[in-house]
């Protein structure tokens, strides 16, 4: 059955809001706005890092604040660029997506550090879309954030 104009407009607004989440995430990283990053997540949001050898999980506002608070410690101050964001609306205020990131290092004259991708889950909280979870998969990194 064809969608009504109201349904189409609602979906467009949802997709636009979701599209902005990874962009705002990068913007916050660039501006060292770590509380801004945490606010992009749902209260019980999670960030999961999956490397070839280890998995790390930060959950809830406290866990996320601790994770992002340490992101510029070590030899890498990440400056990310996001690409290729695809979104699947799942209905009932849920969606999933995937997007790809390249990192440069502010501490080393913006040297190219590597790339990976995020598998995201999004949830609508009131009128706002938030990250329910972000799972980061490294493809290649010469150095990892926070190490």
């Amino acid at each position: 059955m064809a969608k009504s104009i109201e349904q189409m407009a609602g979906e467009l607004a949802d997709r636009e809001a979701i599209r902005e989440l990874p962009l705002k995430y990068c913007d916050c990283v660039w501006r060292n706005d770590m509380s801004g990053i945490v606010d992009l997540f749902a209260v019980d949001g999670e960030f999961i890092t999956k490397g070839q050898k280890r998995e790390h999980r930060a959950s809830g506002r406290e866990g996320l604040a601790k994770l992002y608070g340490g992101i510029t410690q070590g030899p890498l101050t990440p400056r990310p660029y996001i690409h290729n964001h695809v979104i699947d609306l799942a209905g009932s205020g849920r969606a999933t997506g995937r997007c790809y990131v390249e990192l440069r290092n502010l501490k080393k004259d913006m040297e190219w550090v590597g790339a990976g991708w995020y598998a995201d889950e999004y949830v609508k909280v009131g009128e706002e879309w938030k990250f329910k979870s972000r799972t980061f998969r490294t493809v290649y990194m010469s150095v990892m954030p926070g190490q």
Binding site: A2, I5, M8, A9, E11, L12, R15, H83, N84, H85, V86, I87, R98, Y100, E102, G114, A115, W117, V139, Y140, S142
Partner: protein, 154 residues
């Protein structure tokens, strides 16, 4: 004459769906999803690659599947898409152009090359698909130049 709200929303939805096509194309390449790639094209969809002083065209699902399977294996490309512009033509037709950078997953994501796609899009039912993609390579590192030559031969 000014567009009504239904026309404006429909055009926005069309543009959004078309905008996602090259993004999904890249996503499928990154994930090694050949079936997903081919499904982004209509049944008689065409992919042409121009570069290295030659032009090669593949048409239809069987040829596209063969070419993409070989290409993803040989080159392990990891693309990023940029600067996508879209022109709606009406009657379920549109064209667009977007620019690509490609890195190599089998060599620490080193840079493989760059170029742009001239795309033709068509609406099939409620879904937009590629009618054709014409990849014009502007620069190819030696591995990519060799890889595109090898993978496009039928």
């Amino acid at each position: 004459m000014a567009k009504n709200i239904a026309e404006i929303v429909t055009e926005l939805a069309d543009r959004e769906a078309i905008r996602e096509l090259p993004q999904r194309y890249c996503d499928c390449v990154w994930q090694g999803d050949v079936a997903g790639l081919v499904n982004l094209f209509v049944d008689d969809g065409v992919f042409t690659i121009v570069g290295n002083n030659k032009e090669t065209t593949n048409k239809g699902r069987a040829e596209l599947e063969k070419t993409y399977k070989a290409g993803l294996t040989t080159l392990t490309p990891r693309p990023y898409i940029h600067n996508h512009v879209i022109e709606l033509k009406g009657n379920g037709r549109a064209s667009g152009r977007c620019y690509v950078e490609i890195r190599d997953a089998s060599n620490k994501l080193s840079w493989l090359g760059t170029g742009f796609y001239n795309d033709e899009y068509v609406k099939v039912g409620d879904a937009w698909k590629f009618q054709s993609r014409r990849a014009q390579m502007v620069h190819m590192e030696p591995k990519m130049a060799a890889g595109t030559t090898g993978t496009q031969e039928k």
